[in-house]
């Protein structure tokens, strides 16, 4: 007993992460390596790394047990995890406990605050094979849009009210002061110059509760996010300016103003990676309408291609119509047959269907919606139904090409 009491359980256990930050795609494996160092004492050491929700352990173990003898123990362990949902996750803290070999002394429990940031995105959709999408694809390029934003030329256009997103250096202080003295206007005035023409695409992503049908990791919203990223990439690669508006029941919640290039793509991805679908049962009348109003400053004059990614239901179709009407207010009608507003309709019931019977029921519900879709078509809106379980977005883009 005296001999056992002279021996202590390990006191200084150091657990370090060999990686601090990693980025991965949904359903891809990530290896998490840990280095464990036990300097003193004798006994049993357990190390447990805490995993956040939506992670699946695919290989190895995040709970390890080690024996520390007389000599210093250093061991590198690793395990593999698979994330089932996009997002920004933080792993840890790492919990460890050290036990006396005969449990004669109190077990030491401690945590090692080793942050590990894991960014999980959807796999980018490859649309490189579509060489002439303008001609054949159901997803058109914005033919008649003229840019309102872009590289500024030296040609003066007008003085107008300041809008969120305008650079401060464009404020015309003299005009602002004159206006304030004469009319008492509070908004600053900005100089507007002509911009180099870039075609503009606006993507309106619906995050309302209608999009949350089905399991949390495979609901329509997750596919909508994937489609948004894919479409943004598709248009940005074709030198279009892409803007994103994520809206919910309370209207627009996140807006990425239109811009071009790779940086814009990563800006959009950054917004998409952390956005979550709304939970609840309320549908707001003003959701899409409000979102369009918030972006009107950037819609006016640019005549953009507007893509609404949503799921049309009997509950929300009136509000979508309101939103489409609002879009039409700020855009000019096109002479060509190409439609300037597209609704990518996610077939939510098909996504949520678990078996053949439910699939048949979803088919019936979809038939019921046909008249709603017809109403949209009459308004000059192109509705593309998408069942992501049967048809990839790439396939959707190619469908016109195949039929041709």
């Amino acid at each position: 007993m005296i001999f056992a009491l002279t021996i202590n359980q390990p006191r200084s256990v150091t657990v370090n992460r060999l990686e601090r930050e990693l980025a991965s795609y949904v359903d891809n494996e990530v290896t998490v390596p840990l280095k464990i160092e036990v300097l003193d004492g004798v006994g049993l050491v357990t190390v447990a790394d805490t995993l956040p929700q939506y992670f699946k352990l695919t290989n190895g173990n995040n709970f390890r047990v080690l024996w520390k003898g007389i000599r210093k123990k250093t061991q590198t362990i690793s395990y593999k995890i698979e994330c089932t949902k996009r997002g920004i996750y933080s792993l840890g803290p790492i919990k460890w406990e050290a036990r006396h070999p005969l449990l004669l002394k109190q077990t030491r429990i401690n945590t090692s605050e080793e942050p590990f940031k894991l960014i999980v995105r959807h796999k980018p959709l490859s649309v490189k094979r579509i060489r002439s999408a303008k001609t054949f694809s159901k997803i058109p390029l914005p033919l008649g849009s003229s840019a309102k934003m872009g590289i500024t030329t030296t040609d003066f256009r007008e003085i107008r009210d300041y809008l969120p997103g305008d650079p401060y250096r464009s404020i015309n202080w003299k005009a602002t002061a004159r206006r304030a003295v004469q009319y008492g206007g509070l908004l600053p005035k900005v100089n507007e110059f002509e911009k180099e023409g870039k075609k503009v695409v606006w993507i309106f992503l619906d995050k309302s509760a209608e999009m949350s049908l089905g399991p949390i990791i495979r609901n329509p919203f997750e596919y909508a996010v994937q489609a948004t990223a894919g479409l943004a990439r598709f248009y940005l690669e074709r030198d279009c300016k892409v803007g994103l508006c994520i809206y919910g029941a309370r209207g627009a919640e996140r807006i990425v103003f239109p811009d071009v290039g790779g940086r814009q793509y990563y800006r959009i991805l950054r917004e998409l990676v952390s956005v979550e679908v709304e939970i609840g049962d309320h549908v707001s009348i003003f959701s899409l309408k409000d979102a369009v109003r918030r972006c009107r400053g950037h819609l006016l004059g640019s005549n953009p291609l507007s893509i609404i990614i949503t799921t049309i239901t009997s509950r929300n179709f009136r509000y979508i119509i309101e939103g489409v009407k609002e879009i039409k207010k700020y855009t000019m009608p096109m002479k060509s047959k190409s439609r300037q507003t597209i609704i990518l309709h996610l077939m939510a019931h098909h996504i949520a269907a678990r078996d053949f019977v439910e699939e048949a029921a979803a088919e019936l519900l979809e038939l019921e919606r046909q008249h709603i879709i017809e109403d949209f078509k009459k308004m000059g809106v192109s509705v593309i139904p998408w069942n992501p379980l049967r048809q990839s977005l790439t396939r959707l883009l190619l469908v016109g090409l195949r039929s041709a």
Binding site: M1, F3, A4, L5, V42, L44, T46, A48, T58, N59, G60, N61, F63, R64, V65, L66, W67, G69, I70, R71, R99, P101, L102, L103, K105, Q106
Partner: protein, 253 residues
């Protein structure tokens, strides 16, 4: 999942390098061996004791007069079979309290032999018509001592091995891999065996060294103005008190 291939890993326990893996069945087998050793050694001491003969004689007289006379030829082996069966039942139950039962049975049947070597005959002190001479054993002092020490060692081993087994099950329940545990168990087992071995060695050393220093110790004790019983009681109070104080100091740490 990656397949786990059994490998012999080097494990260092107190500077001793060993190459082994231990699984649950190995722990149970060790428990069985220890329990068997305890029971066998205590039964051996009982068989060599006069009280066993008295017991058999009493039983035979009782059985002759009853309807159980057909089992009379098996009478000498009957208590042994019962003892083994009860011990086996306790082992099969496997919990700490059951293993304590094995220890208690072993001590119960070993105790007469130990009392025979007692210098203080409590039965005579209490004025009873019997004394410890009725517990006469054919075993020598050394044999009795070794059996006693083996029982204490067995008790320590059983206690800590069952503790290791509980840790094993707890860790499995918490999601640890069997492979990890099979590498941890030998370390714990070796530590326990080292502890039990050192305790045994220390007990044997003290037992054999005491007669050597008897005269020296006697001269010291006779100088004390109190009877040795009072000194003994004081010592027995102080030792657990020191252990309790030590544990409390460890807990606050």
């Amino acid at each position: 999942m990656e397949s786990i291939t059994p490998k012999l890993n080097k494990i260092i326990v107190s500077g001793v390098k060993i190459c082994m893996r231990l699984n649950y069945s190995a722990i149970r087998s060790t428990e069985f061996l220890v329990a068997l050793l305890m029971i066998c050694s205590s039964i051996y001491s009982l068989l060599n004791n006069r009280i066993y003969d008295f017991f058999i004689l009493f039983l035979s007289r009782f059985l002759q007069a009853s309807f159980l006379s057909p089992i009379y030829p098996f009478l000498p082996t009957l208590p042994i079979v019962i003892l083994f069966s009860v011990s086996l039942y306790f082992y099969a139950m496997g919990r700490q309290k059951h293993l304590d039962g094995i220890y208690a049975i072993s001590w119960l049947i070993y105790l007469p032999s130990l009392l025979y070597f007692s210098r203080v005959d409590w039965l005579q002190v209490l004025g009873l018509p019997i004394n410890f001479q009725m517990f006469e054993t054919k075993l020598s002092f050394a044999e009795t001592l070794i059996i006693g020490i083996s029982l204490v060692t067995g008790r320590i081993l059983l206690f800590y091995i069952s503790q290791i087994r509980e840790i094993y099950l707890e860790m499995l329940g918490r999601g640890a891999e069997k492979n990890d545990l099979e590498h941890v168990l030998p370390g714990m087992m070796m530590f326990t065996i080292l502890l039990a071995g050192s305790s045994t060695a220390a007990s044997l050393a003290i037992s054999y060294l005491i007669p050597v220093f008897r005269h020296l110790l006697n001269s010291i004790i006779t100088l004390l103005p109190y009877p040795y019983i009072i000194i003994g009681v004081i010592c027995l109070t102080i030792i657990p008190l020191c252990i309790i104080i030590y544990f409390h100091s460890g807990a606050s740490d």
